[in-house]
Symmetry: C2
C-alpha cells in the first residue's frame, strides 16, 4: 500500500481527517507523567478518532534521549494510522539522504515534511522512498510566511508568489505520486487557490486551534472533490486540553468534537 492509499484507508476507517500533533513540552505535561507515557495515553484515547499523528522533531530533540522516545512513540501508533515526521528538513544531496534515512528507515515514519529552499536535489532523496509521503512546505501557517513566500516571482506565466511556484514545482517533481503540500489554515484564501490548482495532492493543514486558523474554511477549501486528502492538524488544543490527571479523557473529548465538526463541515460544503 502506498502513502496515499494508506491515508485514504485510515481516514475512511475512522471517518476522520483529523491529525493529532504529538508535540510534548515537558513544561506543559501533567505532573509526574513522562513524555512517552503521555504520548501513549494520548494515542490510546484518540487513535480511533484520527487519520494521522504528526510528531514535530524539534520537541524530541530538546529532550534527553528524545530520539528513543520518538522511535518508541512511532512504534506504538497503530499500524493503520499515518505517522508524519515533521522535521522540515532539507540539505544538499548526500546529507538529505542521511535525513531521509533517519526519518524513514530508522524512525519508520510514513511521511515527512521538507523545506523547498534548497531545491530538487535536496528533496529527491526523500521522494525515492516511493511508498512514503513527502510534504513540501508551501504556505506555512506563521506570520513570517509572508516575508519570502509572498514575493512575486517572475515565471513563464507572469508574476506569481513564491509559494505558488513551489507548488507548481512540486507537481512537476511528482514522478512517484508521493508529494503533498503543507498549507496553513491561517491563509484560507491561499489554501483555496492552491487546492483548485492541485486537485489531487494530499494537503497537510496546520494552524487551526492555538494558531487561530478557521476550521470550517480549512475543511471546505482543503479537501479534494471527494472530500478527502486533507489532513487537518491540531496539537496544543488537543494534547493540553487538560493538564490534570484527566488529560487523556480531555484530549479524547476535544479530538472527538473536532472530528465531528470537520465531518459536519464536510456534509454541508455543498
Amino acid at each position: 500500500m502506498n502513502f496515499t492509499e494508506k491515508l485514504l484507508a485510515a481516514a475512511q476507517k475512522n471517518r476522520s481527517l483529523l491529525c493529532v500533533g504529538l508535540d510534548p513540552d515537558p513544561n506543559l505535561l501533567p505532573k509526574g507523567v513522562g513524555v512517552l507515557e503521555f504520548n501513549k495515553k494520548i494515542i490510546d484515547s484518540t487513535s480511533d478518532l484520527v487519520c494521522a499523528y504528526k510528531l514535530n522533531l524539534a520537541f524530541y530533540e530538546a529532550l534527553d534521549s528524545g530520539f528513543d522516545v520518538l522511535k518508541q512513540t512511532v512504534k506504538y501508533i497503530p499500524d493503520d494510522i499515518i505517522t508524519i515526521g515533521d522535521g522540515k528538513r532539507a540539505d544538499i544531496g548526500n546529507t538529505s539522504r542521511a535525513y531521509a534515512s533517519s526519518i524513514f528507515d530508522n524512525l519508520n515514519f510514513d511521511a515527512a515534511t521538507v523545506n523547498p529552499y534548497l531545491g530538487f536535489d535536496s528533496i529527491e532523496p526523500f521522494l525515492k522512498y516511493t511508498r512514503k509521503g513527502v510534504f513540501i512546505l508551501c504556505r506555512t501557517s506563521n506570520a513570517g510566511a509572508v516575508d519570502f513566500q509572498s514575493l512575486p516571482c517572475e515565471t513563464e506565466s507572469g508574476l506569481r508568489p513564491l509559494f505558488e511556484v513551489v507548488a507548481l514545482k512540486a507537481e512537476e517533481w511528482n514522478t512517484y505520486g508521493n508529494i503533498g503540500l503543507v498549507i496553513g489554515a491561517t491563509y484560507p484564501e491561499e489554501l483555496r487557490l492552491l487546492r483548485q490548482a492541485h486537485p489531487d495532492m494530499p494537503i497537510l493543514i496546520p494552524g487551526i486551534g492555538a494558531q487561530g486558523g478557521d476550521l470550517s474554511l480549512a475543511v471546505r477549501y482543503g479537501v479534494d472533490k471527494m472530500g478527502q486528502k486533507a489532513i487537518i492538524n491540531s496539537s496544543r488544543q488537543i494534547i493540553y486540553a487538560s493538564r490534570g490527571e484527566d488529560f487523556a479523557e480531555a484530549a479524547r473529548r476535544v479530538a472527538s468534537a473536532l472530528r465531528d465538526q470537520i465531518n459536519s463541515c464536510l456534509s454541508t460544503r455543498g
Copy 2:
C-alpha cells in the same frame, strides 16, 4: 565575547579561515574506529589549523545515540575554536524556540545554520541568543540551489534573485549583529556580489573539495576588506583523506595544506 569576536580571535590565533566539517559516515570510517573516537582524533590532529568545526546534524541523527556523540564532540572541541551546528532548521515560532534551545542550550554550539523559507519569526528565536552566530542559508552549494534561489523576485529596487532578497532581509534583521550568510563556493560570482553588498557579515562557505568549488575564488571573493570573516568549510576532503589507521595524520596533512593555500590566496589577492 560575542560570536564575531570569538571567530576573529580563533582565525587570528591559528592564522586560519579553515573550517573542518565533522560529518561522520559509519560506512566511510576506518575499521574498528567509533564515531566519537574518530571525531576526537580528527580534532586532536587539526585544532591548531582551523578557526571552526562544523557538525552537520543529519549525520548524527542517523546514528544510534547520535545526540550523545554530538554533544560529547562539541564538548571536546577546544573552547577557543568556533563550533557550528549545521542543522538548517526553522519552524514556526514556538517550535523554532525548541530548536534554538536544543542547539544553543543543550548542545552548546557557538553558531547554527537556519533556513529562511518560513521568514523572520522562524529565525528570531535563534537571533535572541545574541552572543551566538546565526548563519542564514542564502545561496546553497548544491545544483538545486537554482530552482528557487535564482527566481527573479519583484522588489522596490526592481527584479532581484531570491537569494539576494534573503541577504537584504538578513541585513535588515541584524539588530544584534549576530547574523551571517551561507554562500556556496560553487557559485563564485554570487559570492563576489553578495560580499560586495554585505561587507561586514561573516560568510560560511561550503562547497570546496568534493563539491568542486574553486578555493582561490572562495577566498578572494569571500573575505571582507581585512581578509577576514570568511569561514571556508571542507568535510570529506579532510576527514576521509585516508581510510586507514593513519586517518588523523592524513587529515592533518590535508588541513594544513588547505590552510596554507587559503593564506597564500589571501596574501596575493592584491
